[in-house]
C-alpha cells in the first residue's frame, strides 16, 4: 500500500461462494481481497486444545462438548484429523442438510467483516436459478441479507455471473458473457452495457468433480480438492489415477456448462442477433487449471451456439473476480 493510499470505506464487495467467501475492498487505485474457506470442523473440547487455538489465533468457537474451527484453518485440521470439512452451503445456497449452517455462516462472515455504524454499502453475490428450474433463492438471499444488515451495512445483491462481467469486461462496456465456475455451481450471465439479459446456473461445478472423483478413487473429497487445486492441469495424459479421474469429471462439467449455454440460448427465442461477437470471461477456482480455457473453447467450438463469441479468456484474477465485481457494483451505487 502506498503511503497516501487509504481504504475506500464507502463500499465493500462480498462474494459468498459455496467453498469460499471473499471480501473485496478498494485501496487507492488497487483492489484488495481477504478470503475465508466457507467450511468448518468440530473437534472434541479440552482446555488444552482451546488454549493452543487461542495462542495460535485460530478462529474457533466452543459449542458444548466441541470446539468448532471455521474458515481457512478448518482445511488444515480436516487434513490432519483425516476427516471431511462441514460446509455451510451446498450448490450455491445454504446447506439444508447442515444444522449448523446458519450459525457458522454468520461466524465466517463476521470474521471477514467488522461491524459498521455509518450504513456502508455492501454488495454480495447470489447464484442464478438453476437452468430449467424455478428460482429457490429467496431464503438464502434473505438470510445473507439479514446477517450483513445486522453488521450495519446497507446491502444489495448481485448475480454472480454479472459480478464477473463487472470485474472483467470494462473494456467492452460490460457487454458479454460472465461465467463463474465455483464450488457448488457454475453461474452464467449475459449482459449488454452492464444490464443482465439473462442468467442461469448449473449444479455441476468443483464439488461435483471432487465428490465424483472421491467416489471413484476412494480418496477423501477434501483431499481430492487439495490435489485438484494444487496440481491438476489438462495435458492429455495423467500420471496417476486421481489426475486422470479429475480430467474425466472436468470434461463432463465443461460439457454440461456448454450444453447449458446452448439450451439457455435456445430457450430465448427472441435472442437478439448481434453483429458483434461477445467476449466470454471464465472465473472461479474451478477455472484455474492450466488448459481449462482451451478445453472450454474446444467444447464451445463443437457446439452450435446461436451467438458469436470472439474472445474467451480466464479472468485476470479468477479467485477474486466475483468479489471485485460485487465491489464495483457497490462502489457504483455509493
Amino acid at each position: 500500500m502506498r503511503h497516501n493510499d487509504k481504504v475506500n470505506n464507502s463500499a465493500v464487495g462480498l462474494d459468498v461462494g459455496t467453498s469460499r467467501i471473499c471480501l473485496a475492498q478498494r485501496v487507492g487505485e488497487e483492489f484488495q481481497y481477504e478470503t475465508q474457506l466457507n467450511a468448518f470442523v468440530t473437534i472434541p473440547f479440552s482446555k488444552m486444545t482451546e488454549s493452543v487455538l487461542k495462542k495460535e489465533k485460530v478462529p474457533h468457537t466452543v459449542s458444548g462438548p466441541d470446539i468448532v474451527v471455521h474458515g481457512n484453518e478448518s482445511d488444515r485440521f480436516a487434513d490432519v484429523l483425516n476427516i471431511e470439512t462441514r460446509r455451510t452451503m451446498d450448490k450455491g445456497v445454504l446447506n439444508p442438510a447442515e444444522p449448523e449452517s446458519l450459525g457458522m455462516l454468520r461466524k465466517i462472515v463476521e470474521s471477514l467483516l467488522d461491524p459498521v455504524k455509518d450504513r456502508q454499502k455492501l454488495c454480495f453475490t447470489v447464484p442464478a436459478a438453476p437452468l430449467g428450474a424455478e428460482d429457490n433463492l429467496t431464503y438464502h438471499e434473505a438470510t445473507l441479507r439479514r446477517i450483513v444488515t445486522d453488521l450495519g451495512y446497507e446491502v444489495k445483491s448481485i448475480n454472480e455471473g454479472l459480478a464477473v462481467i463487472y470485474s472483467e469486461l470494462e473494456n467492452s462496456n460490460y457487454t458479454g458473457i460472465g461465467i463463474s465456475c465455483g464450488g457448488g455451481l457454475c453461474n452464467v450471465c449475459v449482459a449488454y452495457l452492464s444490464v443482465p439479459v439473462f442468467s442461469f446456473s448449473i449444479p455441476k461445478a468443483g464439488d461435483y468433480i471432487d465428490t465424483s472423483a472421491s467416489a471413484v478413487t476412494g480418496e477423501r473429497a477434501n483431499r481430492v480438492r487439495i490435489v485438484k487445486e494444487d496440481s491438476f492441469h489438462f495435458n492429455g495424459f495423467f500420471a496417476d489415477k486421481l489426475q486422470q479421474v479429475l480430467g474425466v469429471y472436468y470434461d463432463e462439467m465443461i460439457q454440461s456448462l456448454v450444453q447449458g449455454m446452448k439450451q439457455a440460448f435456445a430457450n430465448s427465442r427472441n435472442l437478439p442477433k448481434s453483429n458483434r461477437p461477445l467476449p466470454i470471461v471464465l472465473s472461479g477456482g474451478t477455472a484455474l487449471p492450466v488448459g481449462f480455457r482451451e478445453r472450454f473453447e474446444k467444447a464451445l467450438a463443437e457446439t452450435d451456439l446461436p451467438i458469436a463469441v470472439n474472445d474467451i479468456r480466464v479472468a485476470e484474477d479468477p479467485l477474486h473476480a466475483s468479489a471485485k465485481g460485487a465491489l464495483v457494483a457497490a462502489l457504483a451505487d455509493a
Binding site: 445483491s157 452495457l193 443482465p196 439473462f198 489415477k241 435472442l271 492450466v290 482451451e294
Partner: protein, 402 residues
C-alpha cells in the same frame, strides 16, 4: 433464468457506449452506464431482476437494439492469454557443479551401443539389433531449434550457450485404458492401441510409443519437439537441463503406472524399449545417466515440489533395458534448485527412488553447511535461481515466437 428491465434503443445505446468508452475508471464507467440507461426509461436499473415479464421486454428491446444480421457461427479466437505451461518451452541446460552428483559418478562405464540402420521404406525402419519402427503415424511438430545452456557458475542468463542434438530419453506411461492381455482380447487391445496412437498424435505427446504388443511407433520425428516433459529438471555428469521437451526424447509405454514394485510393462514392451534405447543411444550418443523416467524429472514451479507427474515413479526396469539404475541418482531439482517433495510423492514412488531423494536432501544440507547458512535460506537462494532460469526460458521462447 433471470431477466432485465430495460434496454436502450439502438442509436442511444451506441451514443452511451461511445461516451462510456472514454471513462477510465471502471466504477465511474459503470455508474455512467447505469445512470444513463435508467434515464432513458425513467426507471433505475436492477441487478438480476427476477420478473419474467420484464425479461421478455428486455429481450425484445435487445432484438431492436441489435441489427438483424446473419447469425455468425462460433468463431472464438485464441487471443486470450495462453498459460505459460501451454506455450512451447525452450530448453535450458545449466552446467552443474563438478561435485554435484555422487551417484552419477558411481555408474558403471558407459558404452554406447553399436546399432545401425539396415533397411528403410516409406512406412518402416529396420535396425541391426532387430528394432523395427513403424513410421505410418508420424506427425511432424515444432522443429527442434538450438536450445540454450546457462552456465550455472557464471549465472549469466543473458549469454547462453547453444545445443541442438537430443541429450537424453524420458520414459513415460500413457496411463490409458488397459484391456486384459490375453488372446481373446486381441481385437480390444488393438482398438485401444489405435486410439492411444490417435491421442498421442493429436497432442504430439511423445516421440515414440511402444504398444502392448511391443510394436514401436514413431509419432513425433526426433528432429521435432514433443510435448512430453513440461516443467522438468535433470542433470548428467556435466550439465543441468531445465524443461526437457526439446532436449530429451520422449518414449511412452502403453500402460498404467503400478504402485510399489509391480511391473508396469510386459516382456514384449521391455524388449522393445531395450532395442529402441540402444538405437537412440547409438544415434545420438546418449549416456546412460540421461535415460530417466518422467517421475524423476517432473517438477511443479507453482508449489516448488518435485513429482508433478508420477509415471514410472518406482518400477522402471532400468537393468532389463540395459541401463544403470538411475533411481539412486539424486534429483537435480532438489539439490540444484531447492525443490521439495510431499508425502503424496513418496507414497507414489518405490523404495529405489527414495534413495535418490534422500541423497539429494543430504547434498543440499551439505552445501548449505559449507556456506554457513541455514538450509531454508539456501533453498530460497536455489529457488530464486530456478525462477531466473525460467524467466530466461520464457524470454527465449518469446524471442523465438516473435
Amino acid at each position: 433464468m433471470h431477466g432485465v428491465r430495460l434496454i436502450p434503443r439502438n442509436f442511444v445505446g451506441r451514443f452511451i457506449e461511445s461516451r462510456a468508452g472514454r471513462i477510465q475508471d471502471p466504477v465511474q464507467r459503470l455508474r455512467y452506464l447505469q445512470s444513463n440507461l435508467g434515464s432513458i426509461t425513467g426507471q433505475p436499473v436492477l441487478h438480476a431482476a427476477k420478473s419474467r415479464r420484464i425479461g421478455k421486454l428486455a429481450i425484445l428491446g435487445l432484438a431492436l437494439l441489435f441489427a438483424g444480421s446473419l447469425i455468425p457461427k462460433y468463431n472464438a479466437s485464441s487471443s486470450g492469454k495462453a498459460p505459460i505451461a501451454a506455450q512451447p518451452m525452450a530448453r535450458v541446460a545449466v552446467a552443474r557443479d563438478a561435485a554435484a552428483v555422487n551417484a552419477a559418478d558411481a555408474v558403471p562405464p558407459d558404452t554406447i551401443p553399436n546399432v545401425w540402420l539396415v533397411d528403410q521404406t516409406r512406412d518402416f525402419e529396420t535396425y541391426s539389433n532387430g528394432l523395427r519402427i513403424d513410421d505410418r503415424y508420424v506427425t511432424p511438430h515444432e522443429r527442434r531449434a538450438f536450445y540454450a545452456i546457462f552456465q550455472r557458475g557464471a549465472a549469466d542468463a543473458s549469454q547462453p550457450e547453444w545445443r541442438s542434438e537430443p541429450a537424453g530419453i524420458v520414459y513415460h506411461t500413457t496411463e490409458s485404458d488397459q484391456a486384459r492381455f490375453t488372446p481373446d482380447q486381441n481385437a480390444r487391445l488393438k482398438r485401444i492401441g489405435k486410439a492411444v496412437i490417435g491421442v498421442v498424435q493429436q497432442n504430439h505427446s511423445y516421440h515414440f510409443l511402444i504398444d502392448r504388443f511391443g510394436q514401436v511407433f514413431r509419432i513425433v520425428p526426433e528432429a521435432d519437439v514433443a510435448n512430453h516433459a513440461g516443467y522438468s529438471v535433470w542433470a548428467d555428469g556435466k550439465v543441468l537441463f531445465v524443461n526437457l521437451n526439446s532436449s530429451f526424447l520422449g518414449v511412452a509405454f502403453e500402460t498404467q503406472t503400478q504402485r510399489g514394485d509391480l511391473p508396469s510393462a510386459n516382456p514384449a514392451q521391455v524388449h522393445a524399449a531395450r532395442i529402441l534405447t540402444e538405437m537412440l543411444r547409438a544415434k545420438y550418443h546418449i549416456p546412460q545417466s540421461n535415460c530417466v523416467t518422467h517421475a524423476q524429472v517432473s517438477v511443479n514451479p507453482d508449489n516448488m515440489l518435485v513429482g508433478y507427474h508420477t509415471d514410472w515413479a518406482g518400477n522402471f526396469p532400468f537393468r532389463d533395458i540395459g541401463l544403470s539404475d538411475n533411481y539412486a541418482v539424486p534429483p537435480a531439482s532438489i539439490y540444484a534448485f531447492g525443490f521439495g517433495y510431499d508425502p503424496a510423492f513418496v507414497h507414489a514412488t518405490g523404495v529405489r527412488l527414495w534413495q535418490g531423494l534422500a541423497l539429494a536432501e543430504d547434498e543440499m544440507k551439505t552445501r548449505a553447511a559449507a556456506r554457513g547458512i541455514p538450509v531454508s535460506r539456501y533453498r530460497a537462494i536455489l529457488q530464486k535461481q530456478y525462477k531466473e532460469v525460467l524467466a530466461a526460458l520464457k524470454a527465449t521462447a518469446s524471442d523465438k515466437s516473435s
